[in-house]
Amino acid sequence: MTPTLLFALAILFLPLLSFVFQIFVGNRIGRAAHWFSLAALGITLSLALSFLANIFITPGYALLDVNTVWFSSGSFTVELGIYIDNIAAVMLVVVSLISFLVHIYSTEYMRGDPRYTRYFGYLGLFTFSMNGIVLANSLLMMYVFWELVGPSSYLLIGFWFEKQTAASAGMKAFLTNRVGDIGMFIGILLLFMQLGTFNIQAIAEQVEFGAFDGTGILLTVAGIMVFMGAIGKSAQFPLHIWLPDAMEGPTPVSALIHAATMVAAGVYMTVRIFAFLTPAALEFVAVIGGITALMAAIIAITQVDIKRVLAYSTVSQLGYMVMALGVGAFQAGFFHLTTHAMFKACLFLASGSVIHSMHHALHKIDDHSTDPQDMRNMGGLRKKMPITYISMVVASLSISGIPFFTGFLSKDAILAGTLAYYNLHHGWTIFLPISGFGAAIITAFYMFRLIFMTFHGESARQDIHEHLHETPGAMTTPLIILSVLSLAFVFTIPSTVNPFNSRGWFTTAIQTGENFAGLDMEVVGEALHHAHEPAMMISLTVAALGILAALLFYLFRVVNVEKLTKRINKLGLYNLSFHKFYIDEIYDAILYRPFFWYTRVVAKFDWELYDQKFIDWWGWVTLKLSDWSGYSDYNWLDQKVVDGFGKATRYFGKELRLSQSGVIQNYILGGVIGILSIFILFQAF
């Protein structure tokens, strides 16, 4: 076993070890048990960093590619394997870093929770599943870990299961994801049946050598099917509904889910399978991403819950990433995944810090009815919580796409991609840049709306305000680290310090992806290059516009927001956004309710009709018979229903026993009639 493999396995299994430890030993140790998890994640992180160091030496080369038979029945073999290239190495760092920071943060955030140690166990399980997805070299193995993310998210989102909303949210996340998983599974089956392998590299290779001939419709279908998994996991329209509800989990969990794990898994998977997505499939991907990005951004504008704003922002940003992959801006998509992980984690943890503080303050004044997450109860927090404030501003600038911050680099590349795509295809594809830039302006607006409502202005509730204070070091340290990582130079040094140039170690390590399914990456690259400058101009402008609007609306209060809202709402637009386009309600009306109604009907049919009355059909027949024979009345219908078969036999038995009249001469008559009828019967035939 080479050290590389050993390290990789350690990265995979250390978090699992943490899980096992916390479940079986943790609660006997108590609070101190978190040191075990911290140590495990710390080692994981350092090992991941050691992999990252390698990518500077040999870019574009698989660090590790091992395979072993998991099980086999002769012709049908399933292999397990680890494949680490630069993408995986970067992703590993992202996952373990965020996870590690969340661990640290949680030691304070979750202090005093009755299931404290179990919480750390679940975090371990989650990290394990995510690392598995990253390391997997085959679609089936990826699917395995993909599915494992389900229960880990279920446990974490529903961690405070005493809250009904939390319990439902966990379930909703799991089930919504499963819808996508079905598609992914079918896609995997299609690929396997066609190519006989689950291995991603092998699939790509076979596609390259023309395993799917002809128009490639099958490959397109397979690609879209597999991508359905990403629609679920990465909360793309129309399966995005689970993500905002997932805010019911503890805030650090939200940070983990929304920044580095679960939702990133979908994008990561799309990155992995990019090589064999056909142009048609990519078009589908791009459209889904575009819709998601714009729609989620619009919803985010009107939310008042601090975490919900961030949640929709996540959906929107994920839409960006997916759209990027769809338009062929492979590098940009993955870049955005990485940068987003940092600033979004920072945002969530910062909001958690605010909520934590609010919660304590509310606790002090013995107020249990006020929602600690509602921004309308905040305001003017920046003096009380300076570190939180600064880190949040940094992250907001980053997400809004302001130069010197990471978000600018990656987002700009994506916008360039959409523009390039339009330049190549024209027509309806104008939707993509519109969506991209539109979402960009909205993003800047709602992020700064959030900042201003929370940290600036007057405090809405002075009584709370008095008791607020900055959170402890265990919570602020991760914030500081993450806000530093949201600065652009982190990704560009040592190549350049030019804030408008994204060239750096990252772009060197992560080359433009290959596509064997018909997309000419050179053409795409060329178009990207040309679109770069205009995109930058527009994006800078829209970001500035967005921030400006937020300034006017919420800081300087030049515009009366309430009035504006009312005016807009004349068309129902505000409500549309506030109620998230009514998608949950629509699903409820056209999917959930009819479905459960249907299951009840099925069950009723199965038992009460099919089983209990099946022979009511027999009964009907016998009823007719008895009508003819004049023997019976309808009374028997009222009698208790026995079973179908039984009923009929009993009924016939009852009728037949009438023949046993008790009068001997009837018996003789019966015998004579019998013999005569036999005689006639046999003569007739």
Partner: protein
Amino acid sequence: MDNLQSYLIISTILFSLGLFGVMTRRNGVAVLMGIELILNAASLNFVAFNRFGGMRELDGQVFGIFIIVLAAAEAAVALAIIINLFKNHETVNIDSADQMKG
């Protein structure tokens, strides 16, 4: 008239009458009589077949006697039972014995 056919016709009539009697009479004794008619029809057949069938042996005639003997025994048993019926039901109407049915 002294041919097989006429005997057979008579025996068939006897049989039918017996059958009719068995099926229609209420009185137990009358029913028994019906049965006797059926037996006599058979007996007549045997004798007639024996005579007109050109058989060397007299086994048909013997069978006829057997039938008479057994019919007598049967009648004895049946009458005893009918007497018992009368003891229990105060009637020889066989319809009265319909306690068991269904």
